[in-house]
């Protein structure tokens, strides 16, 4: 008798409590309803949802709110043009022509081309080595200890012969490497085509001082600025490219020919032509991480 009583009262209590809570929550959801701008929800649905912070906001939702409040729709580096177009449609505005922003390492010197290097046995990070004088002659260039490699979550930047090299096929443009570089030589540049021309040097010293520390550094001869002043800016012994004026259709061959140090370099994804040219070459074997478990290797005997 007692058991039945307990079971019955327990069931009754649960039922009553459940109904009461349902009623309270149902009432609350109406009484405390907050009108959310439907555009915010639409915008966060249109964003990739990776929460990488590449746009400069804390997460995709925050950026969605900012977009509705009037922020630029083309800030998402991961989504690129398609997301910008989707956001523009939600907001009912025209989208400017956008180009995906990708990192560029403004240094072209590999180990043997950098002079004045001394043995460095301290903590093997760029941030630590940057605090030590005399690790290498050039105080502007890449240290090659791989802070950017560790920052990259997409395996898109590697140290090749002492120089940080971006893999533009894998890169999504989250700018983590640019943020972490202690020498600030990685900048995000709008890629208006698969390949763009970049200045691969950051050294702002006079020509003689540059040649003392580097075999390929820019000596600041101003050839490029003289030939194409509308595209090149020149500031403190270093040219930079104005990417607002730069377009993919510009003929840069004259400047490239004239540059004595070959500091102007094309970077970007390989074109089919490049792939064809290098098709015959044997690449050194790269060891990929093997994530297989024993279960993957086991033969199926069912």
């Amino acid at each position: 008798m007692l058991t039945t009583t307990t079971v019955l009262t327990a069931a009754g209590t649960m039922l009553v409590l459940g109904l009461a809570m349902c009623a309270v929550l149902g009432w609350a959801s109406r009484a405390f309803h907050v009108a959310v701008d439907p555009r915010v929800e639409a915008a966060s649905a249109a964003l990739p949802g990776a929460n990488c912070g590449g746009c400069g906001y804390v997460g995709c939702n925050e950026y969605a709110e900012a977009v509705v409040k009037g922020a630029d729709v083309s800030l998402c580096p991961v989504g690129g043009a398609s997301v910008a177009a989707a956001l523009a449609e939600i907001m009912g505005i025209e989208v400017k022509e956008t180009a995906p922003r990708r990192p560029v390492v403004h240094c072209a010197a590999n180990h043997s081309q950098r002079l004045g290097r001394h043995e460095y046995k301290g903590e093997q990070t760029c941030a630590a080595a940057n605090l030590v004088a005399g690790v290498q002659g050039c105080v502007y260039g890449c240290l090659g200890l791989g802070d950017c490699v560790r920052a990259c979550e997409y395996d898109a930047i590697h140290i090749v012969d002492g120089l940080a090299t971006v893999d533009y096929v894998k890169c999504i443009g989250c700018s983590a490497c640019a943020r972490v570089c202690p020498r600030n030589i990685i900048t995000m540049i709008p890629f208006k085509a698969d390949q763009v021309l970049v200045v691969k040097c950051s050294n702002r010293d006079m020509g003689k001082d540059v040649t003392n520390v580097c075999k390929v550094g820019c000596i600041g001869c101003r050839s490029c600025t003289r030939l194409m002043g509308e595209v090149f800016n020149f500031d403190r012994n270093l040219p930079s490219i104005n990417y607002d004026a730069y377009t993919a259709s510009l003929d840069m061959s004259k400047v490239l020919e004239k540059c004595p140090m070959a500091s102007l370099v094309w970077v970007g994804k390989p074109t089919p032509k490049h792939l064809e040219q290098t098709a015959g070459e044997v690449l050194p074997e790269r060891i990929e991480a093997d994530f297989k478990t024993t279960a993957d290797q086991a033969e199926w005997r069912g």
């Binding site: 009583t5 307990t6 209590t13 809570m21 929550l25 609350a28 405390f32 907050v34």
Partner: protein, 232 residues
């Protein structure tokens, strides 16, 4: 005086001596998960204190009036249904499910309420509020209160709402203390050369263990305080 002393003993015991995290090891998930930065950890501690107080109020109300053996409301209703029955209804089997149920729905309610009337507070709590729903420190506080309400053999020993709320609020403050200390240590840890296999959760758990050992030093302080204040 004795009443105040009792409340104070409960408070000190809940916050420091029998710290929920470092003595009972409940609420470890937010303790490890949200202790990366001091301000975030402090926010989490405040949010937990807030929710734990509400949950304690609701669970005390449930246990006192409905859940404990011979609870007034249950007995009254049962007498209406079956007049003349002398059975003592004990609904303490429902405690766990009711507490979880009550915590989850009250957090939902509080979230909606804050969103409507205190948007800045809602924004500050952010994701923590719904996360706290599954924080076992809160369920633990409810169960501890239940133990003192339903489990007391002597009716005079049954905890009132005052004691229940003291335990809950100071338990929450104890959680905030623990998680803030932890976050401070972890911020310092960022600058240390931690061996690779221990990085991340490993070193955090080790630090938590050592911190718990430090808090073990408070064991027995409550007995001493009791003798000191009550003169027993």
């Amino acid at each position: 005086m004795e009443y105040l002393a009792q409340l104070m003993l409960i408070a000190v015991a809940a916050a420091i001596i029998n710290n929920f995290v470092l003595h009972y090891f409940v609420g470890i998930c937010p303790f490890i998960g949200v202790s990366r930065k001091v301000d975030m950890a402090f926010g989490m501690g405040c949010a937990v204190t807030f929710v734990i107080s509400i949950a304690a109020f609701l669970s005390w109300t449930f246990t006192y009036f409905i859940g404990r053996p011979g609870a007034p409301l249950t007995t009254f209703i049962w007498r209406q249904v079956a007049p003349g029955s002398t059975a003592v209804i004990d609904l303490s089997i429902l405690n766990y499910i009711i507490f979880i149920f009550v915590i989850a729905s009250s957090v939902q309610f509080v979230e909606m309420y804050l969103r409507r009337f205190f948007p800045p507070l809602f924004k500050a709590f952010g994701i923590f509020l719904p996360l706290i729903t599954t924080n076992c420190a809160i369920l633990f506080a409810c169960l501890e209160i239940m133990k003192h309400v339903a489990g007391a053999s002597d009716p005079a020993q049954i905890w009132g709402l005052d004691k229940a709320l003291t335990l809950a609020i100071f338990g929450g403050i104890g959680f905030a203390i623990a998680i803030t200390i932890m976050a401070g240590i972890r911020e310092e840890l960022d600058g240390c050369d931690v061996p690779k296999p221990l990085r991340g959760a490993g070193i955090t758990l080790l630090v938590a263990g050592i911190l718990a050992m430090a808090f073990m030093g408070f064991t027995g302080v409550d007995r001493g305080l009791e003798t000191l204040i009550l003169g027993k």
